[in-house]
């Protein structure tokens, strides 16, 4: 009785869910806006509220943001803040609360300004993730968030509800991973833009069971159809800063010059998809803390799991080339690019590090670099 679904269904998620969220609000449901994969959305679900991703991947509101923020700040922060301050992100508009994390200095300070617009809860994320003190602090932050949600949403969050939410999110993560893993074969069933559309759009869905069914349906659709064999295109792995629709220029350019982004090790992509919350813990908050602190974001120091993940992905997805994309002024990804380049080159795989922003001003110069990268694959 599982329904088939298509990439188009995912492309419609945002549009459809704006209305669903509006209706849910009218019946008294609460909405909590989230920016980052570090946010334990299980707690939002357990509070009976809707967790929803917020806009931050388009250039349009950046000029507005620059009225308050410095120009040489990362475009993701400027875009997120610009959408909020100009009230042009419907998901932000409907959010009762916003949850942020101290993933970087720019975001941390931007969230202070955002407090003027909506109640923002900022989780203090430890950056040394392998010490006991860090873990204790992070568990404490989970408790503090739970308390905040209970107070603001006037509800009680039971352990049972958290375990239930953990089960739902674990299943959603597994379903999303199964979709991404389809691309381990040649030819890849999903092109780069399809892959982005599915993985990025799923965050805007207000109903987790529905999104799981859609992911399962999509997997069924692609496992049952035989792809006609096409000439092999160079298989590219994209890593680095978060990418969403609106900032997919690198994915489009790879496609334009004859390659295919088959896998993405970034935030809405594969970065978090191996991580399942361990249900063997007694305390669900401890279980959540362990999962979330394992996310291999460049804000962690050191960050060995990202290198392990990249190495495994290069093999599993039979990658011909790696593109590492850093948004302007993202120091942690920019510094880590050196480690990434060493790893990729040690495998004999062509590598390209790009530093860019959300504008289209560098399309030609990025294009020639990507073309040269693919020439390295073909020679």
């Amino acid at each position: 009785m599982e329904k088939m679904s298509s990439v188009e269904d995912f492309a419609k998620i945002r549009e459809v869910n704006i209305l669903l969220i509006k209706e849910a609000k009218e019946t008294g449901q609460k909405v909590v806006g989230i920016y980052c994969t570090y946010c334990p959305q299980e707690l939002v679900l357990a509070a009976g509220a809707i967790p929803v991703s917020l806009c931050g991947t388009k250039e349009d509101p950046i000029a507005k943001a620059e009225e308050h923020l410095p120009r040489n700040l990362c475009p993701l922060i400027k875009s997120s803040y610009g959408f909020a301050v100009s009230d042009t992100c419907p998901f932000f508009h409907f959010s009762d609360l916003i949850i942020g994390e101290t993933t970087c200095d720019g975001k941390k300070k931007m969230f202070e300004l955002m407090q003027e617009i909506k109640p923002v809860f900022v989780m203090q994320l430890p950056h040394l993730n392998q010490t006991q003190a860090s873990m204790d602090m992070w568990i404490d932050e989970m408790r503090r968030l739970k308390g905040f949600l209970e107070e603001k949403l006037a509800t009680e969050i039971t352990d049972e509800a958290i375990w239930q939410a953990i089960d739902v999110v674990n299943r959603e993560t597994a379903a999303a991973k199964a979709i991404c893993d389809l691309n381990q074969v040649e030819p890849p069933p999903l092109n780069g833009l399809d892959l982005l559309t599915v993985t990025w759009s799923r965050g805007f869905n207000s109903n987790k069971e529905e999104v799981i069914a859609m992911l399962d349906g999509l997997q069924k659709e692609y496992s049952s159809t035989d792809k006609e064999s096409t000439p092999r295109k160079p298989r590219v792995l994209l890593t680095g800063c978060p990418v969403g629709l609106g900032t997919e220029k690198v994915i489009r350019l790879v496609d334009e010059v004859g390659g295919n982004v088959v896998a993405m090790e970034n935030c809405s992509g594969y970065k978090t998809l191996e991580l399942q919350t361990d249900t063997e813990y007694d305390d669900p908050l401890v279980a959540l803390a362990h999962k979330y602190i394992s996310i291999p974001c460049s804000c962690m120091s050191p960050n060995p799991y990202r290198m392990e993940l990249l190495e495994r992905m290069m093999n599993d997805f039979k990658v011909d080339a790696v593109i590492d994309l850093t948004w302007q002024a993202c120091h942690t990804y920019n510094v880590e690019a050196y480690e990434v380049s060493k790893l990729v080159k040690s495998k004999g795989i062509p590598h390209l590090h790009l530093e860019s922003d959300y504008s289209n001003s560098d399309l030609e110069s990025i294009k020639v670099r990507i073309e040269a990268l693919l020439e390295m694959v073909e020679q």
Partner: protein
Amino acid sequence: MISIGLDIGSVAAKGVLIQGGRQYQMMVPTGWSPRTAGEQLIDDLLQSSGHRPHDVHSIVVTGYGRVAVMEASRTVTEIKCHARGVAELYPQIRTIIDIGGQDSKVIQIDSQGRVVDFAMNDKCAAGTGRFLQVMANALGLDVSELAAYEDPEQAATINSMCTVFAESEIIGLLAQGVDKGSIIAGLHLSVGKRVAAMARRLGIAGQVAFTGGVAMNQGVKRSLEQELGCKVLVPEVCQFTGALGAALIGLDAAA
């Protein structure tokens, strides 16, 4: 077998025609139309070699204007073309520095002339021919005269990497009465430092080949040698390296 290679750069369009052991070269200003420049090069090359359009087997086009040339059999990036051109001129070279009108790049190649890695300057003009051109204007000179005027013993310090700020800086230096030759030496050093840093990031093995229009400037060559601590080889046809590579790639494909 007649193979043409065109390199349509931001300032100059270069063309090479190869027929057997013979080579013809042509250069025209790119101007506002890369397409017209490409057409003109093809005409000029055919005329000087005494061939007709249908005699040509392959036209490989590179450079920023590569997609504008309708006659192209195929387009290839400047990176691959410079690698191929240098591999032909200097088989022992593993590192190439190319400084053109609007960008600079460093290319690492293996013993087969294949590209192993490369780096390019970001969108700003620092470390490119454009930087030197703007500074030459500020000094009331043509860019080709810079090297002749420099005084490398007394190089002034130019702190600004940004073309706009560097221009104000040298106007300030002139106002303080600093000698033109010192300023020019300082500018060459600034370009050399910028590009050498990019080259060191990739890693340098042995000698370095220096191509592109800026390679004609002895001062930049000397500052690169000083910064890199190695010998820098400039091909006689430094501006034509990309076009030569493009023509050779056309030959390789037919072989």
